[in-house]
């Protein structure tokens, strides 16, 4: 029924830090999430991209020292594909993702609070129809708990170096790309506008 108390406390502390980071990142805001999906505001990609690169370096480093173990979700094709499609549609309509909607509730947003009720409803539908759903998610085969390095027979560090390179190049390109469109017309925000999230808080 309950995890041990120390583990609950650890979860709470981790969550508090996560909540502060999500709120300070601006991703608890509808306009930032929807702004990303209409390709006008790149805050979400910047946060996720840097989190993934930093996270991957640390987790694979700690793995080499035998201090952590990996937790890979299985590649159940039907579940991953249908889930990814429904998740994207739902997130675009809602304007928050599961974690950021909880943070948005903390920020006071009423529509996110109603959305959290909707999420409990959606989770309940999954549990209620689990036997049928489980048959569906496994219906197109299951590739197991595999990583990209395992699938391709390559070193994880090759992937991490490649990801880090892409991230650094994207950062440098957007930095140098800011100037010209901005100075000519401040209203037209280019795709890689690195300063977009810094607009006045007019909701």
């Amino acid at each position: 029924m309950f995890d041990p108390t120390w583990k609950l406390a650890l979860g709470l502390v981790t969550g508090l830090v996560f909540g502060v980071l999500l709120q300070k990142g601006g991703v608890a805001k509808f306009r930032i999430i929807v702004g990303q999906f209409i390709l006008k505001d790149w805050t979400v990609v910047k946060i996720m991209g840097s989190a993934v690169v930093v996270g991957a370096i640390g987790i694979y480093g700690l793995l080499a020292l035998d201090l952590v173990s990996l937790h890979i979700k299985p590649l159940a094709w039907a579940g991953i594909v249908a889930g990814g499609i429904l998740f994207g549609i739902g997130m675009a309509v809602f304007g928050y993702c599961p974690g950021t909607s909880v943070a948005a509730c903390g920020e006071g947003r009423r529509d996110a609070m109603v959305g959290v009720l909707g999420m409990i409803f959606g989770a309940g539908a999954y549990v209620g129809f689990y036997p049928t759903i489980h048959r569906f998610t496994e219906s197109l085969g299951n590739g197991g708990k595999v990583t990209l390095p395992e699938v391709t027979g390559t070193s994880p560090w090759l992937w991490i170096v490649a990801l880090a390179t892409v991230a650094v190049v994207a950062y440098l390109l957007t930095r140098s790309g800011i100037r010209s469109p901005r100075e000519t017309s401040p209203a037209s925000s280019g795709l890689g506008d690195g300063k977009m999230p810094r607009h006045p808080a007019n909701v």
Binding site: G11, F18, I80, V127
Partner: protein
């Protein structure tokens, strides 16, 4: 140098760095990736057990999973209070019901926005459970472990999110974003 917690927004790169380091901490201390939706699944399952125990007995979910109040439940609680404190410190409280971009496109109807939020969020959570992860569990924790499932999921949800949002708002009606 002001107190950083009084600022409304931090650099996205700094926030990303923080989440990356937080994921090391979560793996190393609790042996858990950062993830949100398992807690919702377990919460809904426990509600189901409480209100319809006989239905739950016949559902094989409960023989395969043991829903509980866990590290992940407290992570969700922590996210709420962390964001509450952060927004209170910086005066960034926004009691929005109908966001401005939504209102420009779909009008000021409160009922309309709340209905869309409820069902959009429900669909999103249902999709997350089909795939066993969300923006945190797959999008960050899974991709940083280079999980094949997480990369497939993340590319698909970002793609369909972009298509859906462009169909809803177009590229024109959003000049004030």
């Amino acid at each position: 140098m002001g107190n950083p917690f009084l600022k409304k927004q931090w650099s996205p790169y700094l926030v990303g760095l923080g989440i990356g380091v937080l994921s090391w901490f979560a793996f190393a201390t609790a042996d858990h990736p950062l993830g949100i939706t398992t807690a919702f699944e377990h919460g809904a399952a426990m509600i189901g057990q409480a209100i319809a125990p006989t239905l739950a007995e016949n559902n094989e979910y409960f023989s395969e999973e043991t829903p509980k109040i866990s590290w992940e439940t407290m992570l969700v609680v922590g996210v709420f209070f962390g964001a509450l404190m952060s927004s209170a410190w910086s005066g960034d409280r926004e009691k929005t019901v109908v966001p401005a971009i939504w209102e420009q496109r779909f009008g000021p109807s409160v009922a309309g926005r709340l209905t869309a939020a409820f069902f959009g969020a429900g669909l999103m959570m249902f999709g997350a459970r089909l795939a066993q992860g969300c923006t945190s569990g797959h999008g960050i924790s899974g991709t940083l472990q280079l999980a094949a499932s997480s990369w497939v999921f993340s590319i698909l949800f970002f793609g369909t999110g972009i298509i859906t949002a462009l169909l809803m708002y177009g590229r024109k009606g959003v000049t004030h974003v």
